[in-house]
Amino acid sequence: MKQFATLIKTLDSTNKTTKKVEALANYFARAKDADKVWTIAILSHRRPPRPVNTTLLREWAAELANIPLWLFEESYHIVGDLAETIALVVPAGETSSEKSLTVFLEEMIALKPKEEADKKAYLFENWRQLNYYERFVFTKLITGGFRIGVSQKLMTRALSKATGIDEDVLAYKLMGNWDPNTISFQDLVLEEKESDYLSKPYPFYLAYAVEGEVEDLGAVSNWSFEHKWDGIRCQVIIRNDELFVWSRGEELVTDKYPEFQKFVGPIPNGTVLDGELLPYVNGELGTFNDLQTRIGRKTVSKNLLVKTPVILKAYDVLEWKGKDIRTKTFVERRKILEQLFRTIPVISGGAEQDRTEQLPLLLSERMEFKSWEEVAQERNRAREMRSEGLMLKRKDSPYQVGRKKGDWWKWKVDPLTIDAVLTYAMRGHGRRSNLFTDYTFALWQENNEGKKELVTFAKAYSGLTDKEFKEVDAWIKKNTLERFGPVRSVTPHHVFEIAFEGIAFSKRHKSGVATRFPRILRWRKDKKIEEANGLEDLKALISPSPQSTPQKEEEAKNTKE
């Protein structure tokens, strides 16, 4: 533990990436194998399940610190991190533990099924003894969510430095479903084994946003175009008569999307497809908002499967007949993909189709254009196509690893914008703890008595400079109306221009509208709150579509009731 806590302290004491990689590489070179495995697991968000819920943690920490619970809660709102708050308020221990990180984690796993009294005794013992940093790390391991400014990529780079294994190979090895409790460092990192690779996806190739003018990308004839679909980026793997679905967050989500089981059989073993998982409702693509109902669910009810089925809009093939074909050119890979589509029964359009014989699969249509103006025109159709813009892929490009510039670009449509009033604020977390940086915005609506009132429609916490955040923060503290725990309501006074990518009707939102990726575009100091937009203006931005008109929403509601 001492070693791991020292690592975290060192990572915490520098703001420079090279220093962080160096500290991690040193750690990987020196730590015991089991600790290394756990460190990799923790830094790639594979922590063991939380042994004690946070309500109990808070109560017990307050008890040990000898302060009332409300005072602990207030401190937590201000510190912004539960483990840090606990480490700060409980009386300081001075000792350092000789127990290894692995032993601590094994203890925590064993703790989960135990009685409350045992859990409490375990926590008190460690909180009392450990010094500040070890206490912080210990509590962080219990609360989970080890975000300390070390990305998985950075960790992989350090591991590569320490082991001499290629970074991309390592990224591939560390993906997927492995259990830090049972796997050895030898198995996970050092050893080459074919059988392990059955479920393993390839690292996703990620595109950068177009910089400057698209014309600078050269001859339009070198490029292939597709719409940029607004769903979940996925890799679908069929190997050995088994299906694996990976999301871009390198999370195995096979069980969440049982409709894809149909792929096994018709799609030959040894195939890996890259595509977008999208909702497909009544014979056409749904919105991201439709998809929201599926994302959080681990088990999917039959009802939901009927209401919001999903499909894969495939755009690339990375493995074919068991061979890694990522080095083939994009056009060659697409030929293979299109050939595959000719041999299997994929979805055909229309609402009234019987889909029992069809695979939930669509091809992401490839387009070519004669001029960049034509490309721009197609991009303007994005909202109508339910896409976020265009993807530009160089025809002769291989499938690369991670975010690389040059061969793939995303060219999104300009965001939609609206002027809204700041109504609530909450303190941020991490580097923004203790600053009010998370805002709620409202738009005008006429109530039943014909009076205008503000209705909340979105939250946003990015888009301002640090200086602007400071200014808003200071203003909020002076203009607080009411406090609700960490949230404060403020005098409606400031207007901000809010940008967002997509918009749809939603029953889950008070305003009746859901926006996608809302963020602050500008602080409109020139505008008075009376000049902010109305909810009607926002609704007018929703592009018409059969399943998302207000009328249909109303009907759906009626039939349900």
Partner: protein, 347 residues
């Protein structure tokens, strides 16, 4: 009901029978000043009364104002009200202001800390009926380690940086924190360079205390000479063009706010040393208890939370709005001091 001895007005804390203000934030005729930080000693008063040691600081900051110096514990009477100044331990020359009238005693702390920092005259507990206290760090999350340990860490950090061929840049407010750092840095490790604001303020304080030798960084200072040494600068120098001369360097801040990892990360500082010139949580509670006061008024810091807790402990505690300190958060790293006038304009 009688008028309270001290009232909170839009100009500042006012003693009506004496017609005197304590640390007023708007121009007044007569002001008693607790200490030299910009939010407590402001421009434009017709006359100032403060401790002897604070006189040169105020003059340095505000020019040739009409100012009278008093000694610790020296009583002076204005319109029948008795005043005296007592050490607050915050920075050199910082006082608590005791106000006594018709058997009633109030104490206003300004800013204070209990730990003896080896520089400011150590805090002295004064019995009173009403205690007007700051609570900049009035949360149980703030627990300071003794300064001896903190300075061991700071000197060790410096020595490590030096061994790595890097310059150590340490940020601290030019009045107070900078001198406290200077006083306890180990000059056997290397030379100590200063930013202009720190150098000027230290020059004002040299007659009052002994400090190690410092060297001002000027246009003519050679880059090679600075390498591996210590540089003390105000926080506003962080991210400025001035600092580029120190390359390769690592940065650190010494402040109570460094107790929060988020505060340091937000400022993109490499290292944070938790070192404050204010009371931590236990010291605030201890100070209040020792005064024997039943009425407590919280002026700045986490006032709402702190006064609520004091009420639970049985005190008659409340909050009054003042213009001391920044708001409740570390908006700057100045530990509650809003201003860096003329120190490092527009960086």
């Amino acid at each position: 009901m009688n008028t309270p001895l001290l009232q909170f007005t839009h100009r500042g804390i006012y003693c009506a029978p004496a017609k005197v203000y304590l640390d007023p934030w708007k121009p007044v005729d007569k002001a008693i000043i607790s200490h030299g930080h910009a939010d407590h000693s402001r421009w434009g008063h017709k006359s100032y009364i403060t401790h002897h040691k604070n006189v040169p600081i105020v003059k340095h900051r505000l020019g040739d104002v009409n100012i009278t110096g008093k000694a610790w514990g020296e009583t002076f009477t204005i319109n029948g009200v008795t005043f005296s100044l007592h050490p607050a331990g915050h920075i050199i020359g910082s006082s608590q202001i005791r106000v006594a009238h018709k058997g009633e005693v109030w104490v206003f702390t300004g800013d204070y800390k209990l730990e003896d920092d080896g520089l400011a005259t150590p805090y002295e507990s004064i019995k009173c009926h009403t205690f007007i206290t700051e609570c900049t760090f009035g949360l149980p999350a703030f627990l300071w380690t003794p300064q001896k340990e903190v300075f061991t860490d700071i000197n060790q950090w410096w020595a490590e940086n030096k061994a790595n061929g890097q310059t150590s840049v340490l940020f601290g407010y030019s009045l107070g924190k900078a001198q406290r750092l200077l006083k306890h840095l180990d000059p056997s490790i290397g030379k100590i360079y200063t930013h202009g604001a720190v150098e000027n303020m230290t020059a004002v304080l040299r007659p009052l205390a002994t400090f190690p030798q410092t060297e001002l960084i000027t246009r003519d200072t050679k880059k090679e000479d600075i390498k591996g040494n210590m540089v003390i600068a105000p926080p506003s120098a962080h991210g400025s063009t001035w600092i580029r001369k120190m390359t390769p360097f690592v940065t650190a801040s010494a402040s109570g706010w460094m107790a929060f990892r988020g505060a340091r990360r937000r400022r993109a500082i490499d290292k944070g040393f938790v070192l404050s010139d204010h009371c931590d949580w236990p010291d605030l509670l201890k100070a209040i208890k020792n005064t024997g006061a039943e009425k407590i008024i919280c002026t700045h810091g986490y006032t709402d939370i702190f006064s609520k807790y004091l009420r639970e402990l049985g005190y008659d505690a409340r909050t009054e709005q003042t213009q001391y300190g920044e708001e409740e958060g570390p908006v700057s790293l100045e530990e509650g001091n809003t201003e860096l006038t003329g120190e490092h304009a527009n960086q």
